[in-house]
Every structure is written in C-alpha cells, then in structure tokens.
C-alpha cells in the first residue's frame, strides 16, 4: 500500500462513517456504526504507525502529508482514546436510547460529528502542510462544538458558545502565526513550499528569526488556547463539564493533545533557527507552570466532579508542556505522559459519567460511598484519580519523575520547585475530593448501578495498562518514544 493511499484511507474511513451514521435507522445502529468505524480506523492507524516506527517516515506525493514517528505516536494515543470512548458511548447512552432521550436525530448527529472529529484530528496528525494543519484544528473546533450541546440545555449552550468563541479567537491567532512562519521563509523557500514542515525544518537555520519568534508567540497563544494552557484555558472546564461523558473523555483524552501537537511541530524549527538557544522551550516552561499552578487553585475548591477532571486536564497539559519545554529527557517523559494522561483521563471521565448517572448529579458534595454504590465505576474513579495525582506505581508517577529529573538536568530549579509545589497542592485538593466521594456511605435513595461484564474491560484494561507501564516499559514503546522525542528535539 503506497503512502498516498494510506492517507486517503485514513481520511476516507471517517468520511464514510459519518455518511453511514447519517443514514442509520436506529440510535443504537448509529452508535454501533461509530464503534465499528472507529475500530477500523484504529486498526489502519495502528498498522500505519507500526510501519512508520519500524521503517521510517512516509510521505505522500507532493509532501502534503507526512507520517513520522511523532505523528505515529499521536496516532497511537488517538486510537487508544477513540476506541474505548466509542465503546463507552454505547453503554453510556444505553439508558437514554431506551428512554428515547437520545432520539434518532441526535444519535445521527452524534455519530456524524464524532466521525468528523476523528477525521479532523487525523488530518491534523498526518498533514505536513502547516496550513492544512491549521485547517484541521479549526475543523475540530467547529465539529466538536455541537457535541458539547448534544443535549440542549442553557448551561450546555453557554459552554458551547464560550468554547466556540474562545477557541476561534485562539485558532485565528494560530493562523496569523502560521503566516508569520511562512513569511519568515520568504527569502529562502519557494513560495509554494513555505508551509511545508519538512522544507521549513531543512532550511530552519536561515529563517528570519524575529518573524519566526513572533509567529511562534501567535502559535503558542493560539494553539495553546485550544490545548487548554492557562490563562487561555477558561473554556475548558465549562465545555468538559457540560458535554456528555464520552465527549468529555474525547476532549480531555485527545483534543487537547492534538492542539499541543501543532505547537510541537514548530518546536524543532524554532530550536534550529535559534541555534538551540532554548528561547521557545522557555516559553513552554512558563506556560506549563502557569497552567499547573492555576489549575491547582481550582482543583482545591472544586465542587463539580467533571470540572475537577477538567482542571486536572489543564494541570496535566501543563505538565506535558513543561516536559517539552525542559527538553532532553523531558520530551521523552512528556510524550510518555501524553499516553498515560490520555489513558487515565478517559477512564476518569468514563467513571464520572456513569457515577453521574447513578447519583443524578456531578456535585461532589452529594456523591459519597461510590465504592459501595457502584463498585466498578467507584473503583475506576478512585484509581484513576489516584493515578492522576501521581501515586506510584502508576505510570504517571514515572513520567512525572522523569520530568522532575529533566528539570534538574536543565538546572531549572525554580520550575522544579513550582512543579512540585503545584503537584503537592493538587494532590491535597484532589485526594480530599476522592476520599470523600469514594468512601463512606452512599446517600439514601441512590440507584444501584448495573455494570455489564464488558464494562469491566473499560475499567480494568486502562488500569492494568497504567500499572504495567509504571512498572515495565516495553522496548518497542521505549523505541517509539525515543524516535518521537528525537523529532521534537530537532537535533539533526
């Protein structure tokens, strides 16, 4: 299979899937179509990623599309988020389809938009053209906006509007930044090539530095808005808390990462152009730390479960950004952390969603005794939150330790101290919430939860994966991470 065909298939599956969803006869059929399509897409993506990691990057004719280790790694993470989330959507919406709350129209819309998001994110990951990259990100914003208010309510509309406006503004900045980067190459590259990442990277040394740096500022603020970096994160808790749980899981699990991926693409160009002066990484460190600290403040006082998880996303995106900014081992750790966080956060949102159904609320003061009321999902929430706040031996602890190590390697003691401080505050706040939710006795009149056997897989597979990765890193994974981090590092 040639590279071009592969890219076409990767984009065609979501398109076809969306069309199939729109034609579905029952809500359940739409949901199953989603699942089938996503599995198909994931298989393709994973096999492509394997090939890339084994044999090196693939590019389409004209180099508009490119699949290298970095995008392959993100493809893997994306597959690991989309497949369980699609399956979870079936179980999550089961009651609603039964009661008719999820009408056929809504189910079709959900399926089509879900596929749309999949397609747009795939587009982001495989494009070598920075313009297309931008188009993909803008498309994710527009496609996912209506997923937030699948069930129309005043609050979900509010969240959707905020998401739409803030992210559109951000993405407009990113567009401006893309143009600046292209302009910085106007002296060295053919105009037609000025947006091709591979070409830009090749001539990075001769790019106009000021234009490039100004462009990066626009890009960082722009894509950072979408990625949920503080102080541009304000849309994030609203959107995450109002969206249906599968959508929240998707947002937190990969939407943010796909935006951060865009920033990553520019990082090696910047580093090469500035003689590895660390100018761009330093900005990343600053934004990472601000995100960690601000989210910590909001985690302590949170009273809504899904908003709590949303702020955790801000925190972890901050940690990942910090890792990228620190360079060296930090990049490796940040990429590892991306996987860990996505696995963990999807599980957390799955559990939060189902617990929300059990308790009829996401207000944490009214959730207690989750381990008794809904053993499976209580366990899922408890374990995933513990993992999220960095309890060993879950993999997040390992990646965070590596980031701390990277900070010391970089002699970045102030960031290290702030990182540990923020982590400590988050730990205190989140542990309090989870202890109060998981233990104790459930309030009277709580509907006991019926977990089907397949749901066990949804909880246990990510947990075991996190546990396993915390104790043992397979060689292939190490290899993939090394390849991907070499690309971000930008050293030729």
């Amino acid at each position: 299979m040639s590279a071009s065909w592969l890219f076409i298939i990767l984009l065609a599956i979501p398109t076809a899937g969306a069309a199939a969803c729109l034609a579905a006869r029952t809500p359940a059929a739409a949901l199953w179509t989603v699942f089938a399509g996503v599995v198909l897409h994931a298989t393709t993506a994973l096999s492509a990623a394997r090939r890339v990691l084994a044999l090196g990057p693939m590019a389409s004719n004209g180099e508009w599309f490119l699949l290298d280790a970095l995008s392959a790694w993100h493809l893997i993470v994306m597959a690991l988020v989309f497949v369980p989330a699609s399956f979870y959507a079936i179980t999550y919406f089961r009651d609603e389809t039964a009661s008719g709350a999820l009408s056929l129209r809504l189910a079709r819309r959900f399926g089509a938009l879900w596929f749309g998001a999949l397609g747009a994110m795939t587009l982001v990951l495989i494009s070598n053209n920075l313009g297309i990259l931008w188009v993909g990100i803008e498309a994710t914003t527009l496609l996912t906006a209506f997923l937030i208010c699948l069930h129309r309510s005043p609050t979900s509309l509010e969240a959707m509007w905020k998401y739409l406006i803030i992210c559109s503004v951000g993405v407009a900045f990113a567009f401006m930044g893309t143009l600046f980067v292209a302009a910085s190459a106007s002296r060295t590259l053919e105009p037609g090539d000025a947006l091709l990442w591979t070409k830009l990277l090749d001539v990075a040394g001769s790019l106009d530095r000021v234009m490039l740096e100004v462009g990066f500022i626009f890009l960082l603020v722009g894509y950072g808005t979408k990625a949920g970096l503080a102080p541009m994160h304000t849309w994030l808790p609203d959107a995450h808390s109002q969206a249906p749980a599968p959508v929240s899981a998707l947002f937190s699990g990969f939407l943010l990462n796909s935006a951060l991926y865009c920033v990553l693409r520019y990082l090696p160009i910047l580093e090469r152009a500035t003689d590895y002066s660390g100018w761009a990484p330093r900005l990343l460190v600053v934004f990472g730390l601000i995100s960690i600290l601000i989210s910590a403040a909001f985690i302590i006082f949170q009273h809504d479960l899904k908003r709590l998880l949303a702020y955790h996303s801000v925190e972890h995106i901050g940690i990942i950004t910090l890792g990228f900014g620190l360079g060296g081992l930090g990049v490796f750790a940040a990429l590892f952390h991306t996987l860990n966080h996505s696995l963990c956060k999807t599980l957390a949102f799955f559990s939060a969603g189902r617990l929300g159904q059990v308790y009829g609320t996401h207000d944490m003061s009214r959730i207690s005794g989750a381990l008794r009321a809904a053993p499976l999902w209580g366990l899922g929430l408890f374990a995933s939150l513990l993992a999220l706040i960095g309890v060993a031996p879950f993999a997040i602890f390992m990646s965070e330790f590596q980031i701390a190590k990277a900070a010391v390697d970089d002699a970045a003691y102030v960031p290290l101290a702030l990182f540990l401080l923020g982590g400590g505050v988050v730990f205190i706040g989140a542990l309090r919430h989870v202890v109060l939710m998981a233990w104790g006795a459930p309030p009277d009149g709580t509907r006991p939860e019926r977990a089907c056997s397949c749901e066990w897989l949804l909880v246990w597979l990510p947990l075991l994966a996190l546990l396993g990765l915390g104790l043992w890193m397979p060689h292939s994974l190490y290899d993939a991470l090394s390849q991907a981090s070499a690309i971000v590092g930008g050293h030729p």
Binding site: W161, K162, I165, I166, V169, G170, F173, R209, V210, E213, V214, I217, F218, V221, T225, P231, M232, T234, W235, P237, L283, I294, A297, F298, I300, F301, F332, A333, L386, G390, V391, A392, P393, F397, M398, F401, Q402, A404, K405, A407, V408, A411, L420, V425, F427, I428, L431, R432, V435, L436, W439, G440, A441, G470, L471, W472, M473, P474, H475, Y478
Partner: protein, 665 residues
C-alpha cells in the same frame, strides 16, 4: 541470602494476589493472606539473620526497562538489620491480624485488607533492599499507598477518612522532597544506582541532606512533620498500627542512614540538625503522649518520642564521626540502630496489646477502662513489660539502647571538647527529661487501663483474646526480656551494620563493641542480683504471711463509706500536673460545665482534649493562608466570556510587547 529475601517478597506478592482472588471466601482469604505473609516474613527473617551473623553481602542487578531504572537489590548488614524487625513484626502481626480481623467478616472485604497488608510488607522489604533510586521510589510509594488503604480500613467513619487523607498527604509531600533528592543525585552522578553515587562536594551534599531529612523525616515522624502519626495510627486496625508504628516509620530512618552513607563526608551541622530534631521530637512526643486519653494516640505520640531518641543517637553518631571519636560515633549510631530494633519490639507489643484491649473491652478511651489486668492477665502482664521497656527501665531492652545513646552523650560531654561537649550534655538532659515524661505517660497508660477497678460495665466484661492474638504479644514481651538479659550479645550484632555506615573496618568496630559488651555484662550481673533480691524478698514475704491473717476488703480510701469505681483517678487527672506545667506547648483545651447553685441538680462535666499544636498552629494556618490566596485566584473564572477572550488577548499582547518591544535582538 538475597535470593531468599526476594523469594520472601515474591511470596508476599503472591499472598496479596491470592487474598484478592479469594475475596469471596473471607476465611480462605484470611488464611491465605496471613499465612503467606508469615511465610514470606519468615524467609526474609531467616535471610537477614543469617546476614547479620556473618553472611556475605550480596547484590543482584537485573535490567529494568525504565529510563534510569534498574532492578538492583542488595542485602548488606545495614539492610539486614532493618529487615530483621520488619520481617519479625510483620509476620507476628499477620498472625494477630488473622484473629483480629475475624469480627469484620461479612462487613468488610478481608481479601482487600490482606492484599494491602501483604503489599505493604513486600514494599517495605523492597524499599530496604533497593539499590536503585527509581526502584526505591516505586517501593516507597507502594508502601505509602498500601498503608493508606490499610489506615482507611474502616472508611465508613469520618475520622478514619480524615486520618487516611492526612496521612497520605504527609507522606506524599515527603515523597516530593525525595523525588527532588533523587533528581539532584542523578544530575550529580548521571545515574540512579546507589553504588554509582560518588562522594558529593560540600554545599550540594548539604542540600541533599536537608532534602533527605525532610523527605524521609516525614515518614519517620520527625517533629514538626509528625502530624500524620497521631491521626493515622489510631485509625488503622491494630495489627496495622503495630506494623506502621513499629517498623514502617523506621524505613524513613533507614533511608536517611542509607543516604548519609552515600552523600560523602558529613558536616558537623548535620549532627546538630539531627540532635535538634531529636530533642524536639523526643520531648514534645513524650509530652503529647502524656496528654492523650486515647491509648493508640498515646502510643502514636510515643513513637514520635522514640524516633526522637533515634535521631539523637544519629546526631551524636555524626558528631562523633566529625570529631574523629570512633567510640562516640559507634555509640551514637549503635544506640540508634538498636533502638530501631527495640522500639519495633515494644511498640509492636504495645499496639497489639492496645488492639486486644479495644477488642476485649470495646474502647480505647482510657477513662472508660480500668482493672483489666484481672480479666486479661496475659495481655496486662505483657503490656507492663512493654511499658517498662519503652520507659528505658533496666533490665529490659529499651534500657540497653537508650543506654548506648545516653552513654554516648555522657562520653561526648566528658571527654570531648568544644561544641561536641555541649551536644553531649544536651543529649543527656534531653534523654533524662524524655525518660521522666515517658515514665509518667506509661505509668498512666498501664495504671489507668489495667489497674484499679473497671470504670464502665464494658470494661468489667473485658476478656482475653484468643491464642492467635495472645501469642505474638507474649512472644514480643519475651523478646523485650531476652534482649535485655542478653544485651552483651545483642550489641555485638551491631558491628556489621555500623561498619556499613562508618568508614571503619568491621574489626575495629568489633573491638569497641566488645568493650561495650563488657560494660553491659555488669548490667546483666546487676539484673541478676535484682532478680535474686526480688525472689528472696518475695519468699520472705510469703514466709512471713504464712499462717497470718490475710484478708481482702474494699480500698480503704481514707474512710470514705462508699467508694465507687468512678471516683478513681482518671487518665486526664493523672496527667494534669505535667500537662498544666507545659500548657504553653500542649495547648490543652478544657471545656467545663460547672455545677450550678448550692445544690446542683444538673450533672456537671469537665473534659480536656489535646490536639496537635503543630497541626493547629503551624500547618492549619499555613495551609489556610495558601487556601485563601487560591480562593482569591478563583475569581479569575467568573463566567464572562468577554473577559476570557481578554485574557487570551492580553497574553498575546504581553508576549508581543516583550518580544518586539523589550527583548529585541
């Protein structure tokens, strides 16, 4: 030997898994969990004992596919010395727990409890034998996680949830410092293997020492990082409290010692830091212990006190080392090490006995107990032995280790000049005060709980626990006596661990310890004299009383017609004079409901409670300040989308102005 130790760890982990699998059948889960725990601990005990009496240090290094990680473990005398109490107490407590947890059958998941218990045991052992920073951290955190869940065993009680929360926060914040410590070490040496850590130059090594003291001190319970101890230990089931208080906190001491051996040349101020910590922990721990009404809280504070004694020993050892006085160094480190072992024994004993009391009488409130010695003769006698031992009374084991530290202080004060002498005298004064206060605290605990008459009906109906609970208690009491009487032999066991800490040959250390053993032989002699005198006096007394009238009456009580059990001195009244004397530190709260009128109709009451001053005056305000700051920050997310966009815009403009306006190349 290392393979045997690892086999023990594997057995423990397997026991954990088995207990979880058998969760549906509580009996089997208990059997498998406790049985495997004992088996695993027995293996580790055998390995470490063999090591201490003369095995060769062994190491294994397997690759571990984790950046910077290696599965590197080793059993050297220092590790073995810490493994000894860990294995012994954990195994015995498992036996005890098998019976203790029975009453929760059906209400609680025993499989879960044993799962975490075995994991805790495995993690402690692994932490002590780990020779790679990452492996150590993993084991260290596993230990915290397992004990966190064990503390929360009775999670339906709010107090227990609070305690578990506090505990996990304290230990995790400690871990943050440990993470920083290892990250720095790795940056200095490029690896996380302990063997590869070279000597580190002065300013950095000082920073690392501080990080280690804070990070590991939080686990060990150094004042003021001890605040989790009095919360967590009472909340946990008693066999878990015994393990946590007896050995788990010692892993903090172990890690601190291990780090000190890796950091290179110690500085005198390290010793002073440890002495200051020891002073504060010892005296405050004893004082707070005295003021408690809850037996397990008292014991928890007492652990702080004993950790203080250990820290004093370590401090004297470091000072001895820097003053080039090998004897002082050996006395300091040796005393600290031996106290680690001894404290594990008697604190384990006391916590297990406290569990038996709670089990038999239904409460740990001292003022609701009394007269238990008549109903629980075995437990009571063992408790008396443990109490005497923990006060450092001859001829029990506590005296031996405290003696070494004490004598070190004396020696430092008498024969070394300069600030070392001051440290020695400080240690002497502190140990004397600690001893006096501990005596007050434990005569109170023993006297109020086991002596006199039952203060409540429940206490009057108390009963001895079954064999599985009684046996470990009595065995530990026996160990207290045994170590005391065989002190000259016991101190020789210290030679190899001390040689692992100090850069001296084993033979040199042995020489000094033989001298100490000779001194201790006098103690044994005197102890024998004491025993003989007691026997003679007892014989004399029974001979005198034979054939004379020996009658039993009510307590005379200065002629009161109808004394009742409630008129006895209570725990709080017993402690009142000392508590009042130190009220500036203790800040005991009284709530008095005074009798009204000449002929009071309503019953009056007075209650006192001593919280932790550090919790109330240091951590609460500090966290409160941070909290208020953060609360103010929350105003940022006010819901107005225009202003949200403004944040984005301002960020952009600020960066643009910075880049184009200020930082123009």
């Amino acid at each position: 030997m290392i393979l045997l130790t690892l086999a023990g760890v594997v057995v423990l982990v397997a026991g954990a898994g088995l207990a979880l699998l058998l969760d549906r059948r509580p009996k089997w889960a208990s059997f498998a969990g406790a049985g495997m725990a004992m088996l695993g601990c027995a293996a580790v005990f055998a390995a470490s004992f063999r090591m201490l009496i003369g095995g060769d240090a062994e190491a294994i290094r397997w690759p571990w596919s984790m950046p910077l990680g290696a599965f590197s473990v080793a059993l050297d005398p220092l590790s073995a010395f810490f493994l000894l109490p860990i294995a012994a107490l954990t195994g015995l407590a498992a036996l005890y727990g098998a019976e203790y947890l029975q009453s929760w059958t059906g209400r609680k998941s025993l499989g879960m409890a044993w799962f975490w218990y075995n994991l805790l045991a495995a993690a402690m052992i692994l932490a002590v034998i780990a020779r790679n920073g990452l492996l150590f951290l993993a084991a260290w955190e596993m230990m915290a996680l397992a004990s966190f869940f064990l503390v929360a065993f009775e999670d339906e009680q709010e107090r227990v949830r609070e305690a578990a929360w506090t505990y996990f926060i304290a230990t995790h914040l400690g871990t943050a410092f440990v993470v920083a410590l290892f990250a720095l070490l790795a940056a200095q040496t490029g690896t996380l293997d302990f063997d590869a850590f070279g000597p580190i130059s002065a300013p950095t090594s000082g920073l690392l020492f501080i990080l280690a003291v804070i990070g590991f001190g939080a686990k060990a319970g150094f004042v003021p990082l001890h605040v989790w101890l009095p919360e967590a230990h009472p909340a946990a089931p008693s066999h878990v409290s015994a393990v946590m208080s007896g050995v788990m906190i010692k892993t903090g001491i172990y890690a601190l010692l291990r780090m000190m051996t890796l950091l290179g040349e110690p500085q005198p101020w390290w010793g002073w830091t440890l002495i200051a910590i020891g002073l504060a922990s010892g005296v405050l721990g004893a004082l707070f212990a005295l003021a408690q009404h809850d037996l397990k809280r008292l014991l928890a504070y007492c652990s702080v006190e004993n950790i203080g004694i250990i820290a004093l020993g370590l401090g004297l050892g470091v000072l001895g080392y820097t003053a080039r006085s090998p004897l002082l160094a050996i006395l300091g480190f040796g005393g600290a090490l031996l106290h680690v072992l001894n404290h594990a024994i008697f604190k384990g004993l006391l916590f297990l006995a406290a569990g038996a009391v709670a089990h038999g009488a239904g409460t740990r409130e001292m003022d609701r107990l009394g007269g238990l010695l008549k109903r629980m003769p075995w437990t009571g006698a063992a408790f008396a032995v443990g109490a005497a031992a923990i006060c450092g009374l001859p001829p029990l084991n506590g005296f031996v280790s405290e003696y070494l530290v004490f004598f070190g202080g004396f020696l430092g004060g008498v024969s070394i000049s300069g600030h070392f002498a001051t440290a020695g005298f400080l240690a002497v004064a502190a140990l004397a005060l600690i001893g006096g206060l501990a005596l007050a605290a434990f005569t109170k605990a023993f006297g109020i709980i086991f002596l006199g008459e039952a203060r409540t009906e429940a206490a009057g109906r108390a009963h001895e626990p079954g064999m599985a609970m009684r046996f470990p208690i009595c065995l530990l009491a026996g160990a207290c006596l045994l170590i005391g009487f065989f002190a000259p032999v016991t101190v020789l066991l210290l030679a190899r661990p001390i040689a692992a800490i100090l850069p001296m040959g084993e033979h040199a250390v042995d020489g000094y310890l033989l001298a100490m053993a000779a001194q201790l032989r006098w103690f044994v002699l005197l102890a024998a004299v004491l025993a003989a005198l007691l026997a003679a006096l007892a014989l004399l007394r029974s001979g005198l009383l034979a054939g004379r009238s020996v009658t039993e009456r009510g307590t005379w009580d200065c002629g009161y017609a109808r004394p009742t059990a409630r008129m006895q001195y209570t725990a709080s009244s017993f402690a009142q004079p000392l508590v009042d004397l130190f009220r500036a530190v203790l800040r005991t709260r009284r709530s008095l409901d005074a009798p009204q009128g000449t002929l009071p109709t309503k019953s009056a009451s007075l209650s006192t409670a001593t919280g932790d001053t550090f919790t109330h005056k240091l951590f609460r305000p500090a966290f409160g300040g941070v909290t208020r700051l953060m609360e103010r920050m929350r105003g940022v997310q006010h819901g107005r989308v225009q202003l949200y966009v403004l944040y984005v815009a301002l960020t952009l403009v600020a960066l643009l102005v910075w880049r184009l306006g200020v930082a123009r190349p």
